[in-house]
Subunit: 264 residues, 2 copies
């Protein structure tokens, strides 16, 4: 990292005045037929998607699972992808890791020092040991799962009241180093999350394929348009807008539409 | 996987009558100087460790973080390691993943179909969506974090009562497909976990470097020696028993000691 995520994000937002995060969930068997024959299909696909969508992206977010699913070639695609993304656009690796301190140091080395992501997502279940080693990486940033919107979120976030306990717990960490993943399919939940965490940066998945309501989400972007506190992620809605040969053009169009809709 | 984890584990236990899981936390900068010059130090180290300890191992458990920390070469070391471990010894990939269904399908493909691990560890925070896609992989097995023993375990396992809620929640899943990670540094906790989950297979870290009491842990192995329900993991205590040129011999000795101490 040449600069901190926080600085990079603020600068990028000032430039674009929009909240779009393009999710690179580049699952091999969903890629267009026209890239399947190339030496490294995920990388081939991502390069075209980045070229097509970068003018509308406040951030990019690859999800580790889809790269590991293609083995060594997939991890190579991830490295190539992160280094290809223009320096001024922050990269958030979605990996939802969470382990004891010595193991988190391993992940910090892997994802910040080696891969050179600007931020990662983390799972806070194992408590502060998950976060502390990450903060030791200068300029790093992590988004902790605070409330997800998948059906299974009932099991612990709702039924064990973690949707209140995690935001309370997050207060011990600086807002310029730690954000929150907040699911968007239930607007009432998002409203409550914002009430609990007024100044924290939210990474909001689920606006596209998972069915969140964009206009409602934007109401909770922040109190002031000068101080953006939200990244709205769309993955499949952008990158798989078409799976024909026009996939890059279709992705550009979908990204632009979300970009316009997310204008401050 | 040629066979289910559950079958492989039972057979291996019958053969050895001991509970040792050798944790391959092969952190590059901790490896002996004598392997640092080789083309792939982690793989070089692991091969010698596997040769030295396999006769005492009911399972092996590599932790994903330490492989990703060495980039592409590290992931290659992980693939070589898993394929080098003798077929009859189950391999548990410690990755503590937990995400929505489509992403978990990606991890299932990565770790079971491609890497050919027999089991993985998972983080249950996002609820049943974490588990269901894994069960679709025939013969697969996962260990869900039920109670960890790191300092940060206070934050949610204890303070949000997840140490009761997770075991309750696990009841919906078959014991031949889902086990539990249970930290061992507090024996009273382990006793309580066993009371809540009498028949479930426990993966118990923290007996070596993390300071758990072995004799106490063994009391909760199971009600019957015929029906083992515990794997006792030691990582650093075995693999880094020496960091001199005698590292493999020292690892064999440490593994044998734990093996004898864990005899049923």
């Amino acid at each position: 990292m040449s600069r901190s995520f926080w600085h990079k994000y603020q600068e990028r937002y000032k430039q674009l005045q929009s909240h779009v995060c393009v999710g690179l969930d580049s699952q091999l068997d969903k890629l267009p037929a026209c890239v399947q024959g190339s030496q490294n299909p995920i990388w081939e696909f991502n390069r075209a998607i980045i070229d097509a969508t970068k003018d509308y992206a406040t951030a990019f977010k690859p999800n580790l699972a889809f790269y590991l699913a293609d083995g060594l070639r997939g991890l190579e695609a991830l490295y190539l992808t992160v280094s290809y993304i223009p320096q001024e656009i922050p990269v958030i690796l979605d990996c939802k890791v969470g382990d004891i301190g010595s193991t988190m140091q391993g992940y910090a080395h892997a994802f910040f020092a080696d891969l050179k992501a600007d931020a990662i997502t983390v799972n806070p279940l194992m408590g502060k040991d998950v976060i502390v080693p990450l903060l030791q990486q200068e300029g790093s940033f992590a988004f902790a799962l605070a409330l997800t919107s998948n059906p299974g979120a009932q099991d612990f976030f709702h039924n064990a009241d973690l949707k209140h306990k995690v935001p309370q717990w997050l207060k011990q960490f600086d807002e310029s180093r730690l954000g929150a993943v907040v699911g968007a399919t239930q607007v009432a939940d998002l409203q409550e999350m914002r009430k609990q965490m007024p100044g924290r940066l939210f990474l909001v998945p689920g606006v596209g394929a998972q069915g969140g309501d964009l206009a409602a989400v934007l109401k909770y972007a922040s109190d002031s348009p000068e101080e953006p506190r939200i990244l709205i992620n769309s993955s499949r809605g952008i990158i798989f807008a078409s799976i024909g040969e026009d996939y890059a053009t279709a992705a550009a169009k979908a990204a632009k539409e979300l970009f316009e809709a997310c204008k401050a």
